[in-house]
Symmetry: C2
Subunit: 324 residues, 2 copies
DNA sequence: GTGAAAGCGCTAACAA
DNA sequence: TTGTTAGCGCTTTCAC
């Protein structure tokens, strides 16, 4: 049988209340008594039941985290940041994946209602409808769309794209072609305007844009089409690394040397980016920092702070490898 | 205020016990009463408090998972398998990382004692000492060492290495060089003997072994040394993909064509393996399946089944790309 | 400084 | 079939 607070109280010849006081460092306990209680606790290896404490206090010291799936590498990075902060602060992390669409959401929402956790972190949630009724403190990590009313953390896509542009400009490239991500995503918009603005500011016209699509095949197709067309371009900026890798494939097939003839810059700093030939120059996300920032913010909300009204934007940075 | 079972009982004009019976589908409730209760539940959006249920039942419907860190890609894959099974069975997943060594373990152990979860899954745990006192059902996923007394799930490293050997043998390669992983690891031993045995069975001597070490640099160094030495070899088997990538680097520098002159096979099927040039032929782990298997096993233990006495070994497979 | 008692929201005998 | 009564293991007034 597990040792309970009652057992500790009995052995220390005090009441449960006093044990509780010692447990929670509520002064107002005689030093000698405290020592006696602590001795019993040490001797029995007593640990308060998290469930009972949660029930009595109304707070579980647990944070729920909803992720879109665990196979994409950046999710692990963000999650590590979340776990670091949570573990340092003594919070437990309840993980849920949204791999089964609406079902997942329903299930997660049930947990919310079940008061399983004190607050929640949502990574690119498929929907936020279920939040309209809940009052649980929430922080969202997402750069695909705005979530008005919810504290949000996102990478600085705009500045990241500017970094890419300035790097190409510094190399004397005046007519880049841009392979974009899915339209309508805030992320795509930001990367697009960040890049374009930098070129405008340097006195150049709007770079040529073509739609890519998150896969190596899409990047390959886009560049093949670009080469077949008459559109001149002296460099490439892809909105994501996979597309950039596809672009690299197409350039290799066409025997166009990278970066000498056409420098290429990607976005995301996927693990694979470091291992291509030539290795991909790209813009890195502050994935782990996003997790940390979002979690720190959430814990502040739990402590009673009021949510920031503007998104928390974290800096991206340029990783120079061999393609640009 | 949250709606509680008492509130539902009041509105449906029944006792809490009856609501509880309806909630848990304990027949023995009049159909009409049940309908009335369900209506109130639907109308109020009532969800039982997980904490209270856990306290009353003595089971939390939660499984604790300890991972060595979330940045390594296979961890995410395993975890996805775990999450899939857990979510399908209505269990919650409490995640903990062991990035801070002994500290992490202590913290995790505390959760165990706090009865936070019904069972636990350990991914390559840094130590299992803390388990000696606990009685919580446990399943370990690990191929670095044996954990006698604990149900274990691991990939079939032996058979995987044999697959690699047979592939090279089929290509007529009789004198491969093997770049091993860290010595003393069960995994290293298994990959080594699996490969060697296949060569022995084919009537060839024991392949030349050199120690590698999980990094690209180590692979590069190993092959550079191999080339400088007089040791002849007609193919390479690396115990992990990163080492294989380093080997590829060294071969490229030496202008030795892959796979024509020297075919190369790695192990792990890291995300990067698909994106190198030439793309790496390698042995893939059943990462996700390991997560699923381990979780299914754990849930069976929770249901009262007795633990299997032998490790659950899951099949690896050969992924043929361009290097062999 | 300490204890008694009530209560957190549920389940599970035991009666009726 | 249903309600009553105890808990589950803790925290937290409120007395003393």
């Amino acid at each position: 049988m597990r040792v309970t607070i009652a057992e500790v109280a009995r052995r220390a010849r005090v009441s449960k209340a006093t044990v509780s006081r010692v447990l929670n460092d509520r002064g107002e306990v005689d030093a000698a008594t405290a020592v006696r209680v602590r001795d019993v606790i040490a001797a029995t290896g007593y640990t308060p039941s998290a469930g009972a404490v949660g029930l009595a206090r109304g707070r579980t010291q647990t944070v729920g985290v909803l992720v879109p799936g665990l196979t994409r590498p950046w999710v692990g990075d963000v999650l590590q940041g979340v776990a670091d902060v949570l573990e340092a602060r003594g919070y437990a992390l309840l993980l849920h994946t949204a791999t089964r669409g609406a079902d997942s959401i329903t299930q997660f929402a049930r947990q919310v209602n079940a008061n399983t956790f004190d607050g929640q972190l949502l990574l690119e949630p498929p929907s936020t409808d279920f939040l309209r009724t809940a009052t649980t403190p929430t922080v969202i990590i997402d750069d695909r769309a705005h979530h008005p009313g919810f504290p949000t953390v996102a990478p600085d896509n705009r500045a990241g794209a500017e970094l890419a542009a300035r790097h190409l400009l510094a190399a004397g490239r005046t007519t880049p072609a841009v392979i974009t991500g899915p339209p309508r995503l805030t992320r795509t918009h930001d990367r697009s305007t960040g890049f374009t603005d930098a070129y405008h500011r340097a006195g150049h016209p709007t770079p040529h844009h073509v739609e890519g699509g998150l896969t190596r095949e899409a990047g390959h197709a886009a560049v093949t089409a670009l080469l077949a067309a008459t559109t001149p371009f002296d460099s490439l900026f892809a909105h994501d690394d996979l597309t950039a890798l596809g672009a690299l494939d197409a350039l290799r097939e066409a025997r166009i040397p990278v970066p000498t003839a056409i420098p290429v810059i990607g976005f995301d700093d996927t693990p694979a980016a470091a291992h291509t030939h030539p290795a991909l120059t790209t813009i890195a996300h502050p994935a782990r920092e996003m997790g940390e920032t979002a979690t720190t913010l959430l814990l502040r909300l739990l402590a009673g702070d009021k949510p920031p009204t503007t998104p928390q934007i974290l800096p991206t940075h340029l990783v120079i490898r061999e393609t640009a």
